[in-house]
């Protein structure tokens, strides 16, 4: 498909702008002006609409295809959530920061405050800041809070390390590095969780925090989590919960009750807001009481029965992590989701997510290796090791699935599993959809035995087939040049 710049015709105009109802301003001196207008596309509105509509048709999405991308919780995004967010589209964030302005934003502030309370109940935390803009920023905020906590206790110089298991998301060590920490990585034991003996040996009083995902990226709940937390706390290290996999445990376990001190929640995963082709997300952070003084500003506080205000001056705060109040539109969707599903609905979400993942695991385990064969939580991890012996790799199976109309699972993550295929069906998929997917996965396994060479040409049904990533990295063409 042509690029929009290739379709552009000099002089063609799109949307008509209003005519000025004020006189023209005196032109600026030339030193302040650009020499030439930016070469943006020149298109009719119809051509623009066709271009983007046709581009959209070159995507798989939750609304068009089963999308079992492990670790990303690609559940159905209810349409009413979109409608809910648009109700707030016209409110300017600065209004709340004007003198006397909070009175004009009681709806927005009240919703943020209540969403924080709901998330605190779901996660077992004492207070939640809504400001972080995505999961990784939530992690960074959480580790900065931990750093501020240690600094306030006079331990800034002493605390040097953050401990992560080798199965962790890459964002965990990357976020801890921004907070100035060095990383200690603990290997996974044969039972599928962080090796507790190696962990015990690695722990010293110089460790500031332990970052865990639970269930972990293998989809397994760590039964030793309380013991790990106790060991961490005995060294005055705080426990960080990566909420990427919260969809598995709502109403079943509250991280704050099993020893975690800080948590981030990915609203776009667990709470049904769309992933937008890469974002926006939202990554609220919950903390236990001892960390409340360090939460970002402005902090939303309840001042009366139904009145809310902003606390902007907080001496111990880590400061702002975003310009305003976070990705409010995403939060409005998540809030609508939580009040619509309610207590029973959220419990059902986790139960059905776990049921669906176990069903797929059981039905496919005769065909694909399961590195850790035990009851899983919301996702299951296979290995294409059997198939790769015949020359068919996880990536080949992914491309086969594309031709059969499925978005592939996450492949090659977690890195500790060779040829990993990580499947997260989510609770919103029906048995019929999963049965059809399972049959296709079985077909792939059979084809890997009967005709392994067939995979190399796949996918065959898409606008492009396999792309030359080396060429892309070498040539670095990241901008269209006429």
């Amino acid at each position: 498909m042509q690029l929009i710049y290739e379709k552009s015709v000099p002089g063609r105009k799109g949307v008509k702008l209003p005519t000025a109802d004020v006189p023209s301003a005196t032109p600026l001196p030339a030193a302040f002006l650009r020499k030439e207008s930016a070469a943006l596309p020149e298109m009719s509105e119809l051509d623009t609409v066709r271009h983007f509509t046709n581009l959209s048709r070159r995507n798989f999405s939750v609304d068009t295809n089963f999308y079992p991308l492990g670790s990303c919780t690609m559940k159905y995004n209810a349409k009413i959530l979109e409608n809910s967010a648009t109700l707030f589209a016209s409110f300017h964030p600065m209004t709340a920061l004007l003198p006397g302005g909070e009175t004009f934003c009681q709806g927005s502030l009240g919703m943020l405050h209540h969403l924080g309370e709901l998330l605190a109940e779901i996660t077992g935390m004492d207070e939640v800041t809504m400001q972080p803009l995505a999961g990784a920023q939530g992690e960074m905020t959480g580790v900065l809070l931990i750093a501020a906590y240690h600094a306030a206790r006079g331990n800034k110089a002493k605390k040097k390390y953050v401990v992560v298991p080798d199965s962790s998301h890459g964002t965990n060590p990357a976020s801890a590095a921004i907070a100035g920490y060095e990383i200690i990585t603990i290997p996974t034991a044969p039972y599928g969780d962080m090796d507790i003996e190696l962990f015990r040996q690695a722990m010293t009083d110089e460790v500031a925090a332990v970052m865990m995902t639970c269930p972990n990226t293998l989809g397994l709940f760590n039964p030793h989590i309380k013991e790990i937390a106790d060991i961490a706390h005995s060294h005055d290290a705080l426990m960080y919960y990566d909420g990427a996999n919260l969809n598995a445990i709502m109403g079943k376990v509250k991280p704050g009750e099993v020893g975690f001190d800080v948590i981030h929640v990915n609203l776009h995963k667990t709470f049904g807001t769309p992933h937008g082709g890469g974002g926006p997300g939202s990554g609220p952070v919950g903390v236990k009481k001892a960390l409340i003084p360090f939460l970002p500003t402005p902090r939303i506080v309840k001042t009366g029965e139904n009145t809310f205000s902003l606390e902007t001056r907080r001496p111990e705060s880590i400061g702002r992590t975003a310009a305003f109040f976070g990705n409010f539109g995403v939060m409005a969707k998540a809030y609508a989701y939580i009040i619509m599903l309610g207590k029973e609905g959220l419990i059902q979400v986790s139960e059905q997510a776990v049921l669906n993942a176990n069903y797929i695991k059981e039905r496919l385990k005769a065909y694909y290796d399961v590195p850790y064969d035990t009851i899983c939580m919301h996702e299951c991890v296979f290995s294409a090791s059997k198939q790769s012996a015949a020359g068919v790799h996880a990536i080949d199976i992914a491309k086969y699935l594309i031709d059969r109309g499925y978005h592939p699972p996450t492949v090659y993550f977690p890195m500790i599993v060779k040829e990993a295929i990580m499947i997260e069906p989510t609770e919103t998929e029906s048995k019929a959809t999963m049965d059809a997917f399972i049959e296709v996965m079985i077909d792939a396994a059979r084809l890997a035995e009967s005709d392994p060479a067939a995979f190399a040409a796949m996918p065959l049904t898409m606008p492009v087939t396999r792309l030359d990533e080396t060429k892309a990295a070498r040539e670095q063409k990241v901008c269209y040049v006429d």
Binding site: L40, P99, G251, A323, F328, M340
Partner: protein, 446 residues
């Protein structure tokens, strides 16, 4: 209501296939002492009741005040096509294009977005978006630290106070010295910066137009900064780039900004997107995802995520940034906005903003005792010096239904009488006249 489709019968069949008696049995790996005892959430409701509740909450905000506030978020027109096209579910219910063959829609759109950002800023390379303009400042500063290996950042305090706060939050634990240069009448203090500029400086952060609305030309500053081996980072307002000298023309190394004004609603502060563009030589130090052009096995053009060896999922703690999810859909809105307006449309939009701004400036400074803070030219935002403290004036005007501007004293000591007023193309002459009348009335009463 939880959108879980499976019937009891289907669930029984699935449990039988797994070989467990109940769903509860699947939670057996969680030791009993760790189980939650309570889950004190309200009961659920239908989508209709949910929407009524959401309407009631939105209704508790006061709507209808005429908006002359900016501060980084701007009330601009959004062509109808932006909502409709970005509302295509194939875009908004997809995720990061990890599998390029079935994500060419997102990938090509992001490549076109990156190209639009390069063309706007006059720079060579752009990524596929950051969170917002404020975090983009922090990411750009960290880029300058990596590129130069130095640990000192100079920041013009005319940069948005919110961006500066976020920058400090990000860099707090990284052994970096941030030195702020205090404004001189709402503009960059050139002598102040020259006194501090030496070979220990990694980067200098400025903003154009700045928080007071002043326009500057950083061309000569760029040369001085480069002479010290440092980088010039400029935060820019993309709508103003319809008119103003581009960062590339000034010699800026890294341009950043907030993309809210490009087709994203105010939405109480988010989601918007941050953009970042740079000179080609800096590409390996860029944060976040980048889309690159390539060919498939048959030689056909296609697009992929490229230079991923910079990113956290590969490099972990040595990555150029921790960012994973970005603001893809908002960036797509930005691209569609720029396409629907087109080349001449953005020029026209910028002109409209400046025309309205200049009209308002004349109308407001005609009020007795009201002066302008800056001598520099401005775009659609400027700072008034009132004959009294601005905060109570702004509060009184807000009660009259006019959000007249941002009192500067909250962010700048000594500027208690300053009121930063923003006038976008959406404000009519009648509304500007109403602001002038209201301001005059409030000032007379005090």
């Amino acid at each position: 209501m939880s959108y879980c489709p499976n019937t009891d019968k289907e669930q029984q069949e699935m449990l039988a296939a797994i070989g467990v008696p109940s769903v509860e049995a699947l939670f057996a790996p969680i030791p009993a002492p760790l189980r939650a005892e309570s889950f004190a959430l309200p009961s659920g409701m239908s989508e209709f009741e949910t929407f009524d509740r959401m309407k009631a909450i939105a209704g508790q905000n006061s709507a209808g005040s005429v908006n002359f506030i900016g501060g980084g978020f701007y009330d601009h027109i959004i062509p109808a096509a932006v909502d409709h096209l970005s509302g295509r579910a194939e875009f908004y219910t997809a995720y990061t294009p990890y599998q390029p063959e079935c994500s060419q829609g997102t990938l090509q759109a992001l490549f076109e977005y990156q190209s639009a950002i390069c063309r706007l800023t006059g720079l060579d390379v752009s990524n596929a978006s950051l969170y917002d303009g404020a975090t983009a400042c922090a990411e750009a500063a960290m880029m300058a630290l990596r590129v130069t290996g130095r640990n000192r950042i100079l920041v013009d305090a005319c940069v948005s106070p919110f961006s500066r706060e976020v920058l400090k939050t990000y860099l707090y634990n990284l052994d970096v010295e941030i030195v702020e240069i205090q404004p001189l009448k709402g503009a960059l203090d050139r002598e102040g910066i020259n006194r501090l500029l030496d070979s220990s400086v990694a980067g200098v952060l400025v903003q154009n137009p700045n928080f007071f609305g002043s326009i500057d030309d950083f061309t000569s500053l760029a040369a001085e900064i480069h002479a010290q081996g440092a980088l010039l980072i400029a935060s820019v307002y993309p709508v103003a780039l319809g008119m103003l000298k581009s960062p590339g023309e000034m010699g800026v190394d890294i341009a950043i900004g907030d993309g809210q004004s490009l087709g994203n609603p105010l939405s109480f502060g988010g989601p918007s997107f941050g953009f970042i563009a740079a000179r080609k030589s800096l590409i390996r130090n860029m944060p976040g995802r980048i889309v690159g052009e390539t060919v498939d096995k048959n030689g056909k053009r296609g697009f992929v995520l490229t230079l991923q060896a910079r990113e956290q999922h590969i490099k972990r703690h040595k990555a150029t940034s921790n960012i994973c999810s970005n603001q893809g859909l908002c960036a797509l809105r930005g691209l569609i906005f720029l396409t629907t307006l087109g080349r001449s449309g953005l020029v026209q939009l910028a002109q409209l903003n400046r025309d309205k701004g200049e009209y308002a400036k004349a109308a407001l400074t005609a009020i007795r005792g009201v002066k302008l803070l800056q001598s520099q030219p401005t775009f659609n935002e400027f700072t008034l010096l009132l004959p009294m403290a601005a905060a109570p004036v702004a509060a009184a005007l807000l009660k009259k239904g006019v959000a007249a501007g941002v009192p500067a004293g909250e962010y700048y000591a000594g500027l208690e009488n300053g009121l930063i007023v923003t006038v976008t193309e959406k404000r009519s002459k009648a509304e500007i006249d109403r602001l002038a009348r209201a301001l005059q009335e409030v000032l007379q009463c005090n």
